[in-house]
């Protein structure tokens, strides 16, 4: 009995987080506003699709109304250990499930994860089984909790207008950053600079999306070392900076799955012209989707609904 108590208190942070941050209810609505029903979760071992969302959740934003600068669709096929990742450009101008059209990063702002998921499902004709959202500090803390991360910076990344929010607490300030190229072992802050900087790239947010996918591959590699005993400290690191509708059991079952996936089986997809064209809409720089090209790209990895 005392041993059970010891185990219970060890995993107490996980239990607390399980209640608060995982297994989040996701009231689904279809574009017409009707309840879509439970939708059904895939059985163990079956392929599934996760929508990864990342946000600048600094003091510029009200917690309930943040944009998702990062949106990555991930398709996992456990039987073959294959993973496909498709980044959705934040500036893509699309119909939003809650009404009207806007940049896709506004879908989350208008209705949280359910709106983001519904928007992606209706526009890209895919079924999303789960979502996971992480904030900036959550990513930094996660990498630091892992002790750092090995990555290969694909180019020198220089940015004279990098947000100074995390370094100075000024959500509107800028600072200069540089990430030198080549293999390196980086802490959370430098890793974030590598995947968050966008001004020094000709393709801006698109190039940044590619680096974000690289980071996910590197994080998966780091997850090779994790065990169930690591969950409490990981959960502490992500306190309030992570939520998902994956249940805790599903999260823990993903650990061995991640360990069985090799880099060669991770397929990274990004949208590039002619998948979209550049435009100015309502005074905003936006990307106009070429749905024929995008649908063909999506169909390569994601079955239609």
């Amino acid at each position: 009995m005392s041993g059970l108590c010891g185990g219970f208190f060890y995993f107490l942070p996980v239990v607390t987080t399980a209640l608060h941050d995982t297994g989040q209810a996701r009231p689904r609505t279809d574009p017409g506003g009707r309840a879509a029903g439970p939708g059904g979760t895939p059985a163990a071992g079956q392929p599934f699709t996760v929508l990864l969302l990342g946000s600048d959740n600094d003091k510029k934003f009200v917690a309930a109304h943040i944009l998702t600068q990062t949106m990555i669709l991930v398709r996992v096929v456990p039987a073959t250990h294959q993973v496909w990742m498709l980044s959705l450009p934040r500036d893509l101008w699309v119909p939003i499930s809650t009404g009207g059209s806007a940049k896709i990063d506004a879908a989350y702002e208008t209705g949280g994860p359910s709106s983001a998921i519904s928007t992606v499902e209706q526009d890209f004709h895919v079924h999303v089984d789960y979502y996971a959202w992480v904030g900036l500090n959550g990513l930094v803390d996660l990498i630091d909790r892992l002790g750092g991360i090995d990555l290969v910076a694909q180019m020198p990344v220089l940015d004279n207008f990098y947000p100074a929010d995390l370094a100075s607490g000024d959500p509107y300030g800028y600072r200069r950053v540089v990430v030198l190229p080549g293999p390196q072992f980086d802490a959370g802050i430098l890793s974030l600079e590598y995947v968050r900087s966008r001004h020094g790239d000709l393709l801006g947010d698109i190039a940044r999306s590619k680096r974000q996918q690289e980071l996910l591959v590197d994080l998966r590699a780091a997850a090779h070392q994790l065990s169930l005993a690591d969950l409490p400290s990981l959960v502490s690191a992500l306190n309030g900076q992570f939520h998902t509708d994956l249940g805790l059991g599903q999260v823990s079952s993903l650990l061995p799955l991640a360990q069985g996936i090799t880099s060669a089986n991770v397929h990274e997809l990004v949208m590039l012209p002619p998948d979209f064209s550049y435009a100015t809409i309502d005074g905003q720089d936006a990307l106009l989707p070429n749905w024929t090209a995008i649908n063909a790209l999506v169909a390569r990895a994601f079955p239609s609904r």
């Binding site: 220089l158 940015d159 020094g200």
Partner: protein, 323 residues
């Protein structure tokens, strides 16, 4: 009973993955002794390795990195970083007598500059380095170009013209005859960036590529006799790379030979004799970078790399200064 519960709690804690945190080199010892003197960077400080003992040359306040020897055992040059800018500083071999070589701080944030990858010409007279240029017409475009200046002080000369929005040109290697090898980043029609090694005979001259875009090679290191070029070639798809070496006749490279593949070899450096190589790489598949040694990289069947350090967290983007 309570004690047993506490024991279970502690046992579970002990089962957590413990990640290496990187001991200070001067609180550690090298596993083997390398010839000569090596200077490494870790955590913003420089450390000298002689035999198997490390000595701190600097504190961490200057966020020191990228030490480079001045020919003739005349000390070394390193980059000192802070928020928004970095400077190059010359110092004696024991870290004393520091002299500022660049002046990259400015009152207006946008007027600051970065200076990295210092290298001194074989005659000891000219300093080469990567320096960021700002295009006032395209305020987001910040790219490195290779610059030179007399080591004793004097005007700055721009050697290379970087491709905009690529990160630019870095990692200069001055040649005995006055030319330069460096790593240039370019971008293809799909937006993919890649590195190539380029050879250039003088400032502003048209250069020639030594490696192909597909090879994605960077971090050149020329042997002291100028005949062998070590480099890192990246497989971006696999997030892996390889340490390779090729003959150099002053104009072109010979066939490349792989000396070491993953996990992530970085920043090769030739020994002063030109017969040995060291580089940085994690131990196993992941983790902080350690120093590795190739005793006879030119042998028909080179020996496996020898691990020199353990438990450190060496700065992988800072090649070792070996003199």
């Amino acid at each position: 009973m309570a004690g047993f519960g506490l024991g279970v709690w502690r046992l579970l804690g002990a089962l957590q993955t413990h990640y290496p945190t990187g001991r200070r080199p001067d609180q550690s010892h090298a596993l083997v002794s390398l010839p000569g003197t090596l200077v490494v960077a870790q955590g913003g400080a420089l450390y000298r390795l002689r035999g198997q003992s490390f000595t701190a040359l600097t504190g961490t306040k200057g966020r020191w990195t990228q030490p480079a020897p001045i020919p003739g055992h005349a000390g070394l040059i390193a980059a000192s970083q802070t928020i928004n800018f970095s400077n190059l500083v010359a110092m004696a071999a024991d870290g004393t007598g520091r002299r500022l070589l660049t002046h990259d701080a400015a009152p207006a944030q946008a007027d600051n500059h970065w200076a990295y990858y210092p290298r001194v010409s074989p005659d000891g007279r000219t300093l080469f380095y990567a320096y960021d240029l700002h295009d006032p017409q395209a305020s987001y475009d910040v790219t490195f170009a290779i610059m030179s200046q007399p080591l004793s002080g004097g005007p700055l000369t721009q050697w290379t013209v970087p491709h905009p929005y690529t990160g630019g040109d870095v990692q200069p290697v001055p040649l005995p005859g006055g030319g330069l090898i460096y790593a240039k980043w370019s971008i293809d029609t799909t937006g993919h960036t890649y590195a190539q090694l380029w050879l250039q005979s003088g400032p502003g001259q048209a250069g020639v590529a030594l490696t192909t875009p597909a090879a994605d090679c960077q971090e050149p290191a020329l042997s002291p006799n100028g005949r062998l070029l070590a480099m890192i070639c990246v497989d971006a798809r696999a997030q892996q790379d390889s340490l390779t070496v090729a003959g150099f006749n002053g104009r072109t490279l010979g066939p490349r030979r792989v000396l070491a593949t993953g996990p992530l070899p970085a920043s090769p450096t030739w020994s002063p004799s030109g017969t040995q190589l060291c580089f940085l790489a994690p131990v196993g598949r992941l983790g902080p970078f350690q120093l590795w040694w190739l005793r006879n990289p030119l042998a028909h069947h080179p020996e496996a790399p020898v691990q020199v350090t353990t438990g450190l967290d060496l700065t992988a983007t800072a090649a070792v200064a070996w003199s």
